[in-house]
């Protein structure tokens, strides 16, 4: 019985959450929920409200509206909720004075869900030694270590705040691969915030665009290709049907890009080449 209730309950339920800092609105009636089996990208420019939303979810910030994480108010249950969800606020935040071995021992002592054997297994393929001081590791290795520690925590929900900021492409790609291979399954979910869309596009199952504190688009990646299409034409194009109107148009040196919402790709194909738009295209299209 317990099992059924916990399965049907969303990990996060955000219901009309608003947050004002003086006259500025950081969050404006935001609503969404995240259940198991999703990798959600919370995507928006700097200052869009991503961090504010995460802080509210983590119980670090007061807000108005309803927000529950695992059915609980994060403000009142921060420490307890962190046994059920893992969180990387910043990959450059591991204490440099510790050795890797000390860190793992500490985690095993303080975190009831931490599996030290698993973390050692995850670190086995890396050049990271148990005796290394964390501050002596390269930035990429610190990230790898942090991720290995977090992935060894047996929780169903992982929250990452700008996890790949400032990392080179190899480390970034490895980070994503580890998430998908070592963590993700149908019982678990990941929420990632970023302002660099192209970085994480490939691993997401769902996209939330946020801008000026409001969610401007909430769509599954699978539905995205059905709902949106991108048409490449050379020269100008005239549609007979007045209902067919691009939501975004971009003039490039050798062709024109047009983004359509809810238009049959077959109709568009008569005018040029139809491709599926990238998240970046959509972000620009839905936010301008």
């Amino acid at each position: 019985m317990q099992e059924i209730t916990s399965n049907s309950q969303p990990f996060v339920d955000v219901n009309n959450v608003s947050k004002h800092f003086g006259a500025t609105t950081a969050l404006d009636n935001v609503s969404f929920s995240i259940g198991p089996g999703e990798i959600v990208g919370l995507i928006g420019p700097n200052g869009a409200g991503k961090s504010t939303l995460l802080k509210a979810m983590m119980g670090l910030l007061k807000f108005s509206g309803g927000l529950s994480v695992f059915g609980r108010n994060p403000m009142a249950n921060r420490a307890e909720l962190l046994t059920k969800m893992s969180y990387i606020a910043d990959v450059a935040s591991l204490p440099g004075w510790m050795t890797v071995g000390e860190l793992l021992k500490f985690m095993a002592d303080v975190h009831p869900q931490f599996n030290i054997e698993r973390s050692k297994t995850l670190l086995k393929d890396t050049p990271i030694q148990q005796s290394s001081k964390i501050e002596a590791l390269s930035k990429g290795m610190k990230t790898r270590l942090h991720l290995s520690v977090i992935l060894a925590i047996n929780t169903d929900f992982l929250v990452l705040d700008e996890p790949t900021l400032g990392l080179d492409v190899l480390v970034r790609r490895d980070f994503q691969d580890r998430l998908v291979e070592d963590y993700f399954n149908q019982q678990r979910s990941i929420l990632i915030t970023t302002h660099q869309i192209d970085e994480i596009e490939s691993i997401l199952t769902r996209v939330l665009f946020i801008r000026d504190g409001a969610i401007t688009l909430d769509i599954n990646k699978a539905d995205l290709k059905i709902k949106f299409s991108k048409l490449l034409v050379s020269g100008s194009v005239v549609f007979g049907d007045p209902n067919i109107k691009p939501i975004y148009q971009r003039q490039l040196p050798d062709h024109t890009e047009l983004i359509f919402e809810g238009v049959d790709p077959a109709v568009l194909a008569e005018h040029g080449t139809v491709v599926s738009p990238s998240l970046e295209d959509l972000f620009v299209a839905t936010n301008s």
């Binding site: 670090l60 420490a79 307890e80 962190l82 935040s93 204490p95 002592d109 303080v110 975190h111």
Partner: protein, 252 residues
Amino acid sequence: MTVFIALLKREISEHKSLWRVPLILLGMALLVKMSFAFGNLSIDFDVPDGFNIESTVDSWLATAIGKALSVMNYIVMIVMFLVAIFYALSSLYDERKDQSVLFWRSLPISDTQTVLAKLTVATVLVPLTILVLQSVIAMVFLGLQGFDYLSSYLVSALSQLGKVLLWSMLPTIAWCLLCSQVANKNPFLLALVSPVLVILMDWLFLNGVLADTVVINRLTGVDSYTLTVLVIGLIFSVSCLVFTVARRGERV
């Protein structure tokens, strides 16, 4: 409990002065003892009858060692209290400066637990270190006689240390932890400047009543251990700690 012990261990391995300074003090005591040992050698020489002033020399030495021991005990206490103060001032500030606070706060450990662990290090572990270190030094200085010395010394030291702790150390450490949490640039300056301002304002406008009883007494050692001073100190300490925990919760 495992969590709390892990937190204490973390503090000790992060703030190395907590165990390095006692080792240095012990080394210092050994040096002092060695200088006495060389002095002892000369007394072992055979002194011709009639010139035998052995008993006088012995008592003189005993007093000198006794005096050196008292001085060492005092130095140990003062230095370790300074270690505790600097530890409290840097502990929460360093976490924020090196960003590791983001990691610590991503773990299922409440801010209250963390702050209490830091308070425990400064107000329980440091005084315990003082007693242990003083005992070791007494044994080094006096040898087996050290047991006699310690049996009387520790009783008085416990009550003396207890008083200093409750009346002076606790408010000071609580204040330092608060400054460590709220300071933007320099917790040391913040912790120092505001009491100095209070003292100045007080001397100018209140004839120093407040400063003498509340601020200076805490640092120079309270001369009258009255209940009022204790209660004020405890209320002050608790407010500082509550505020520290609240502020740590607000920072991200």
